[in-house]
Amino acid sequence: MSDELQAALRELPQATIIDLRGDVTSFADARLHTSFDSASARGLKYIILNFAGVEYINSAGIATVISILSEARSRAQQLLIVGLNDHYRKIFRMVGVARYAEIFESEAAALDKTTE
């Protein structure tokens, strides 16, 4: 029943974008961590998590996102979040994700941040 998460990396000069497609639930934990580790290994300051292809996120998935945010901080890297619909943007703010990562309306806006 769960729509398995797919994660693809786009490597830009100033940031790595992780394009997510599928469900962000407990089943996505390993895929999210592996993708983050690959992106992080480039050593760039900014990693962008793109949720544009995600339709379903639950609290287990959010817990994984928070653990990745924490991991990024420990590596002096910054995670930026894009592609959330209005509903999940509200949920992310509700549970405090916005305190650890900036949430942008668009990929372009997030990329602007990486060139500041």
């Binding site: 029943m1 089943f27 639950n58 609290s59 959010i62 817990a63 949920i91 405090g96």
Partner: protein, 152 residues
């Protein structure tokens, strides 16, 4: 919609992912009642959290046990009851600040998204009851919907 209560019973397997069946059913019923899309998304997320909690922590992913979801169409409101067979129900005040404990985060999310929520331990397991109300301006005096509201 008549004033008589309409009740829909679902029995989903204790396997993660089947909460989507309950989410889909809730969307259909809430749309028919005239809830806005924003409120339907809130309800779907709350039901998803309640069902995954029942599957994981209530029934402990035991495939032999089912989670029962009951949707009750009331006058100007939709009530959703989620029952599991767990014997160790714990209903502490939801906490969100331990991200290793996503169960607490799920309960917090439910509390924020629905108008009423109540957790209780029943003789045969845990239960959560959630209620959302139609916006006052979408309900006329006898509790039925205004004619311009969308219908399926």
């Amino acid at each position: 919609m008549s004033n008589e209560k309409q009740v829909i019973h679902l029995h989903i397997p204790s396997e993660l992912g089947y909460e989507k069946v309950a989410m889909g059913a809730a969307r259909s019923v809430a749309q028919k009642m005239g809830f806005s899309n924003d409120r339907i998304l809130d309800l779907q997320t709350a039901i998803a959290e309640a069902c995954t909690n029942a599957i994981e922590h209530g029934n402990r992913l035991n495939a032999a046990q089912r989670v029962e979801v009951v949707l009750t169409v009331e006058e100007g409101a939709l009530a959703v009851d989620v029952h599991d067979r767990g014997r160790d129900a714990q209903f502490a005040e939801p906490q969100i600040y331990d991200h290793n404990n996503h169960r607490g985060m799920g309960m917090y999310i439910i509390k924020q998204l629905v108008d009423e929520v109540q957790w209780s331990a029943q003789p045969h397991g845990g239960q959560v009851r959630m209620v959302i109300y139609l916006e006052p301006d979408t309900v006329v005096g006898n509790g039925s919907r205004l004619p311009e509201e969308p219908r399926l």
